[in-house]
């Protein structure tokens, strides 16, 4: 048992984190071209709406929910002191979970049944969607079956994750958790691990910088003013647009 626990809660997280970082950097440098969200809206748009929109907004909410609970567990506990506020938090989170789940089912169904979308589907896409479906399903199950997750996450899982990141893994508490929750944790690390090998890389290049760049963009292939000045030597530099 101890072996399994060690493997899944100590080795796997580190392997996942290391492969994740090496993988995304390598992929970005070697095959930058492959960083794409690979949208299939062009081939089918109506069904996409009922899948993509609830799925993405849902998962963003869930992701940040987990992140906040991990980063500032104290605040979550403080908030949850009043039962009403706890209920509101849990209910909202569950709603978003359900939204994500339904969205993903719609996406999956669309991907399998639409002839055009089928053509741009590969096995990795299917594999990924199955894993995500399983993960969200587990999450919903936990939310229903093991109540008040927002509170025990702050007590049990935040310290565990922190111990991973501080290179001092404490797995005693996680080892005692029910199997469903353990599976949820393991799948989370597996998803992290496969990000570099799937289309999920697109979430790493979400174009937030759009918000602060000027609208228009002009690129010169060489420094115009320098080139005309015979006094300066022309230094070699890589063109900026490739």
């Amino acid at each position: 048992m101890a072996f399994y626990n060690n493997f899944f809660f100590t080795v796997l997280p580190y392997v996942a984190i290391i492969i994740f970082f090496i993988g995304i950097v390598y992929r970005f440098r070697a095959v930058k071209f492959s960083y794409s969200s690979l949208s299939s809206q062009f081939l089918e748009t109506r069904k996409l709406y009922w899948g993509s929109v609830p799925f993405h907004w849902g998962i963003i909410f869930l992701f940040f929910g987990h992140l906040i609970a991990f980063l500032v567990p104290g605040y979550i506990l403080l908030w949850n002191q009043q039962p009403l506020r706890l209920a509101i938090l849990e209910l909202t989170a569950f709603t978003f979970g359900l939204m994500t789940f339904i969205g993903l089912i719609n996406l999956f169904y669309r991907r399998l049944t639409n002839a055009r979308v089928r053509k741009v589907t590969n096995y990795v896409d299917i594999f990924l969607e199955v894993i995500l479906l399983a993960q969200i399903f587990l999450g919903l199950w936990i939310a229903v079956g093991y109540r008040w997750g927002s509170s025990w996450f702050a007590i049990v899982l935040s310290p565990y994750l922190k111990s991973i990141f501080t290179l001092n893994p404490q797995i005693d508490a996680v080892a005692m958790l029910p199997l469903v929750i353990q599976l949820h944790i393991i799948l989370a690390f597996i998803i992290l691990l496969i990000i570099p090998f799937t289309r999920l890389v697109h979430l790493l290049v979400f174009p937030l910088s759009y918000l602060w760049r000027p609208y228009q963009k002009v690129i010169w292939n060489w420094d115009r003013k320098k080139i005309r000045n015979p006094q300066t030597s022309w230094t070699l530099h890589k063109p900026r647009n490739n």
């Binding site: 930058k32 969200s37 809206q41 748009t45 741009v120 759009y210 918000l211 760049r213 609208y215 005309r228």
Partner: protein, 517 residues
């Protein structure tokens, strides 16, 4: 003043014969790949018609281009920083494949391999996307030559301002007229595609103003497709990257004209340098609707002006480029003769492709005559025009044909005049005056005084008229395409291997355009 140079274009619509050679030249070089089959970076439309993609001009559907807000500033109609990022998971105004067409091929092998039978074997069309048999419902020039008029030509978005009676008049069989509108990316000065791209993958090249998409940075957020009001940015459904006309920049850098222009059968296309003032773009694009064209043309600077030359040099524009600007056919058409007008200036992207509006469909007006006498004389089997209409060849009332054009000027104004009919009228009158002047010289049935009076009325002189005539009808290759040297010796990007990259992701880096995982 911030002087920049731009490769600009003029298409002379009176000369376009609608042969689609340009489209084929482009297709063969750039878009004969998986995922790009449906793309026509160059396409030729029949007007009136709904075009490609269907109804692209209807911004109520596609929400492309810029719009002026009450406060006076302009914003992208459907994308931009906030709307764009909010709609990133599903872009509600994006045209989909069915708005263009589903590309197909034919099962040619069936013609040879079918077993013997009573019927002739046929090559069935199959989709290039799914590989399944396909009922062809539309194609890139489905409404060519007004075919399917009730469904296409009559739904032309430019009819919005025309009264039902005016529209009806256009479609009476005897009076029907049309012209061709070849379109490529306009390599705009205020490109909506660049502004809408969340990743910043699209950029305008400083040296020549060509607008390009960096395939390495594009992440398939698809905002450019919606934002370009001309629908000239296309989404490659296979690679998950957007692509657009690159103005054949590898050819330009080597001193060749772009393939569509080089191959143009009607020799309608001109290409050359314009100098413009980048500091004034903002003011020009946010001016009032009726001033738009004027303000946009004001951006273009006089390349002979000493101050302009000085500023251009200070900005690093090569002497050869300045010289090209001085000898540019575009400068003549657009700024000196005022014959070229931008297509849909009201989208506020400041297109750098100008059109000389067509005179012929306007001129060819008909009058009613009694043909019965003539008909009696003819052999009954002979085919003859038994309708009582006659083409007007009357030279008495010179402007009459323009005033009572059978092709409503309002329609042309909606395309090229941002709604202003006077703009169109001026250009047409000038074209007509040049013709009359030439008729005086070659045929001689119009006397010199009349011809000169008419020229004067439009602000032309016989000398200018002859120049216009020359550049319109006799111009040689080098007159039509005035391409400045690219100075490859100074541009690192341009030194990179450009020769053997066909079928790969493009220039600058080599990789197979394979869909990733």
């Amino acid at each position: 003043m911030n002087v920049r140079s731009q490769i600009a274009m003029v298409f002379h619509l009176d000369k376009c014969i609608g042969c689609h050679t340009c489209s084929i030249a482009c297709k063969n070089i750039w878009t004969d790949r998986k995922g790009a089959e449906y793309m026509w970076w160059n396409n030729v439309e029949t007007k009136p018609g709904t075009g490609y993609p269907t109804k692209w001009e209807d911004q109520k559907i596609y929400k492309g281009g810029w719009e002026k807000k009450k406060k006076g500033e302009i914003t992208l109609r459907s994308s931009g920083k906030y709307k764009g990022l909010l709609n990133i998971f599903h872009n509600p105004h994006m045209p989909v494949m069915d708005d263009y067409y589903e590309p197909w091929t034919y099962k040619y092998l069936d013609l040879i391999e079918s077993p013997q039978g009573d019927d002739q074997p046929t090559a069935r069309p199959v989709s290039l996307v799914t590989g399944k048999p396909l009922d062809i419902k539309s194609g890139p020039n489905w409404d060519d030559d007004l075919s399917g008029t009730p469904k296409y030509a009559r739904k032309d978005p430019n009819f919005e301002d025309l009264s039902p009676a005016e529209q009806e008049a256009m479609f009476q069989l005897e009076k029907m007229a049309m012209f061709y509108l070849p379109r490529i990316c306009n390599h705009c000065l205020n490109p909506a595609c660049v502004a809408a791209c969340p990743s910043g993958a699209i950029y305008k090249r400083g040296e020549d103003g060509v607008v390009l998409i960096n395939q390495n940075v594009c992440r398939a957020w698809r905002m450019c497709v919606t934002a370009c009001p001309y629908k000239k940015s296309y989404y490659n459904w296979s690679t998950g990257k957007s692509e657009k006309c690159i103005l054949c920049y590898p050819r330009l850098e080597a001193g060749f004209a772009p393939a569509c222009m080089h191959s143009c059968v009607g020799r309608i296309r001109y290409l050359g340098v314009l100098l413009y003032d980048a500091d004034k773009i903002k003011e020009a694009v946010s001016s009032a609707e009726d001033e738009l064209i004027e303000k946009q043309l004001d951006l273009i600077l006089d390349p002979f002006d000493e101050n302009v030359i000085k500023e251009a040099k200070a900005n690093g524009i090569a002497d050869s480029t300045i010289f090209a600007a001085q000898t540019s056919p575009i400068y003549k058409f657009v700024k000196v003769w005022h014959l070229g007008l931008p297509l849909h200036a009201e989208y506020r992207t400041v297109p750098m492709l100008f059109y000389v509006p067509p005179l012929l469909p306007v001129m060819a007006s008909l009058s009613i005559t009694d043909n019965s006498k003539q008909a009696e004389k003819l052999d009954p089997i002979a085919k003859f025009w038994n309708k009582n209409h006659l083409y007007n060849t009357n030279t008495e009332s010179i402007w009459g044909t323009i005033e009572q054009a059978r092709f409503p000027l309002k329609y042309l104004a909606s395309l090229f005049g941002a709604g202003n009919e006077q703009k169109i009228k001026n250009v047409l009158k000038k074209q007509l005056a040049v013709r009359i002047h030439r008729r005086n010289i070659t045929v001689g049935d119009i006397d010199k005084n009349t011809a000169e009076k008419i020229l004067l009325e439009t602000g032309l002189t016989p000398k200018i008229a002859d120049e216009i005539y020359y550049l319109t009808s006799l111009a040689k290759f080098d007159d039509r395409f005035n391409i400045p040297p690219a100075h490859r010796e100074q541009a690192l990007e341009m030194l990179e291997d450009t020769g053997d990259l066909k079928g790969s992701t493009g220039f600058g880096f080599k990789a197979e355009p394979k869909r990733s995982l």
